[in-house]
Symmetry: none
Subunit: 399 residues, 2 copies
């Protein structure tokens, strides 16, 4: 959906139910001639092809590989090139921190510097997370004029800092020099509007150095990426949908929360997530179900494990379909081909089941069939309007 001002007046409510099943990193590349999805035995997905349309989605634009943030924002209908969630924000929401409109977020690394102030270890020897927590607690006591500061441990040497106050713009440089033997880069404002931020953060940094000066190896912090959180319109506000997220991993729970979805407590895995989905099914219109393990297997380069995750999900599909949603979608947020061992730019296969589809006579849900599916090739951000249309939730545009 490109333009909420365009779509909002068309939205109409009804009793329909929508399930969006996201297999993270679903799209693949062939190994021995077949992709993961082509290799997987998935009788249940294939059984619903006669009442489904297929298509392939570009997560962002041709050739662009998305991170998890833009990948999911696209799926949820937010233009990922307009709604930018910087690294600092994703780090913060990934640890369940409740970011607010206007917050200035950053990732930091604890690092080691020598007597001359030159960086000797950019990760402070990957200090234990326990020590990280203690150091963050001490840094969290720093007082700043007019501005609240939250210092949140993430893992090992990584933490997130959130500055909360008026007029904290995010055009600041990073201070990690990306190499050792040189001092951290001096914090600078990159535009006029960020001069207040520069002053506030420099004050924080001065105090932080003082607190850490006798620590070893974590006697320094380096700022890695700045981002303002700009509130995004909620799912309910834009689509008139009461939405729930059935996701186990913090990052995806956080992303769902940003869009105003209720995030349901659940274990990770197709079995517990299906149980959770069934339990809350009567209470919501829209369900985002996020399966992480396809992506993890892809990132690990484990083709067979990715195939197996797809097969496991397929085996439990009947329990989801028993709920009889009006629109049921199976897709991914991006491709993570096991042979590529990373997120990629390749289009994502998508299946949309509803009463109102043009099925294409397909016998296998896979990348090559999706290319010739009746939904054609489209951008992830358009998926939500297709879903709403098939659910009878969009009225006619113009007379």
């Amino acid at each position: 959906m490109t333009d909420f001002n365009f779509i909002k007046p068309l939205v109409q409510k009804n009793e329909s139910k929508i399930i969006l099943l996201v297999l993270d990193g679903l799209g693949g590349l062939p190994k021995n001639g077949k992709t993961e999805l082509e290799t997987a035995g998935k009788p249940n997905m294939n059984k619903i092809l006669k009442s489904s349309s297929l298509g392939q989605m570009l997560p962002i634009a041709s050739g662009i590989t998305p991170g998890s943030g833009p990948g999911h924002l696209g799926l949820f209908g937010y233009d990922p090139q307009k709604y930018i969630l910087g690294r600092g924000i994703l780090e913060a929401i990934g640890i369940n921190f409740k970011v607010q409109h206007g917050d200035l977020c950053t990732r930091i690394n604890f690092a080691t510097v020598d007597d001359k102030g030159n960086v000797t270890d950019r990760r402070a020897g990957r200090i234990p997370t326990e020590l990280n927590k203690k150091l963050c607690a001490r840094l969290g006591n720093i007082k700043l004029e007019d501005v609240d500061v939250f210092v949140e441990p993430v893992k090992e040497h990584r933490a997130a800092i959130i500055f909360r106050g008026q007029g904290l713009s995010d055009k600041l440089c990073e201070t990690d020099p990306q190499k050792t033997g040189v001092p951290p880069i001096e914090l600078k404002a990159l535009d006029k509007d960020s001069q207040k931020s520069q002053k506030v953060v420099s004050d924080f940094f001065r105090q932080a150095k003082e607190i850490l000066k006798d620590e070893h190896p974590a006697n320094m912090i380096m700022f890695r990426g700045w981002a303002n959180y700009v509130k995004i319109p909620s799912f309910n506000e834009v689509y008139g949908l009461k939405a729930a997220a059935v996701a186990g991993y913090p990052m995806y729970r956080g992303l769902a929360k940003l869009t105003g979805m209720d995030v349901i407590e659940t274990e990770s895995g197709i079995v517990p997530q299906t149980e959770t989905l069934s339990r809350i099914y009567k209470d919501y219109d829209f369900f985002f179900v996020h399966i992480k393990y396809t992506d993890s297997a892809g990132e690990d380069g484990d083709f067979e494990r990715k195939v197996k995750v797809i097969e496991e999900v397929d085996a439990h599909l009947p329990e989801i379909l028993k709920l009889n949603p009006d629109v049921f979608v199976v897709t991914g947020d991006h491709s993570t081909p096991a042979v590529y061992k990373a997120h990629s730019w390749h289009p994502i296969p998508a299946l949309l089941k509803s009463k109102w589809v043009r099925p294409g006579g397909h016998s296998n849900f896979c990348e090559s069939e999706c290319v010739v599916g009746s939904l054609g090739t489209f951008k992830s951000k358009e998926l939500m309007s297709l879903i709403l249309a098939h659910a009878g939730r969009l009225s006619k545009f113009g007379a």
Copy 2:
């Protein structure tokens, strides 16, 4: 065509002839496994597939169902999200009223109110059109300061009013309360620029009430939708085409007129419209031929009748092809699947015959073949540049 500033400098004239045959609501959905187009016997359309490209068109954007106005504007290359023709304008052009740039148009209903001023019938018992005409004639005599007013009967309780004057902005509220037992909503300006409109229309309304006060049941009018007419660039101006519309229904004749086409008098139906087309063929470059009955059958949920209309059109295709146009297109303005009984968002099948196509080895002109046609999936507004290109009417962009 999104951007006339881009296309206009590329346009070059030649002697080519173009026929755009629009079967309204052509796209369908399967019943017993086949769509209307898949079911219809259409030997003549299929015979020209070897010299045609196929594709599928999104009328507006993914999931968006268009009304006839935006559907046709898209076909004619006008961005339907930019050139908005409100209901009031379509009502006015549908009855052949010549709207002018700046006109403020509205639909009205005649209604009934009781002694307390509460609405008892929002349609005044659907008064006969004859009475409607008489009442409109009386309301048309109302005099306003600086502003001309035209009150035009449509049908039964419906009429159109056009206010013509300087600075009449259309940000006014509707006054139909959408229920009975309450008074009509008070007319309000929704922004500063519409204060003059509010004053003018309120003056009109005061006089109208006085005129209607002793009528029964039509003793009230209610405003339903306001729209300014903003002149759109003409077909000739943008494409250098002398264009004619061979359409029987007022709405489509009106739409064609807005784009500057000459609207030819004709009966509705493939036989009289083909005769009209042949008669004027030597006088124009571009011919918009509009067949209404595919849409009517679809709206009525009559799958078989829609099939039959397609077959009738096909039977008369040789008479059109005999004219030997350089570019011949068969498509629709949107889908109206008979099983859906309404306009829908599904892509529209499109066939483009010319000397310069990449034919796809197709044997049947239908939705599923169009998905894999060489034109791919594209937006309706892009059709005109494809047509111009295949007609040799677009020069190279850049050196």
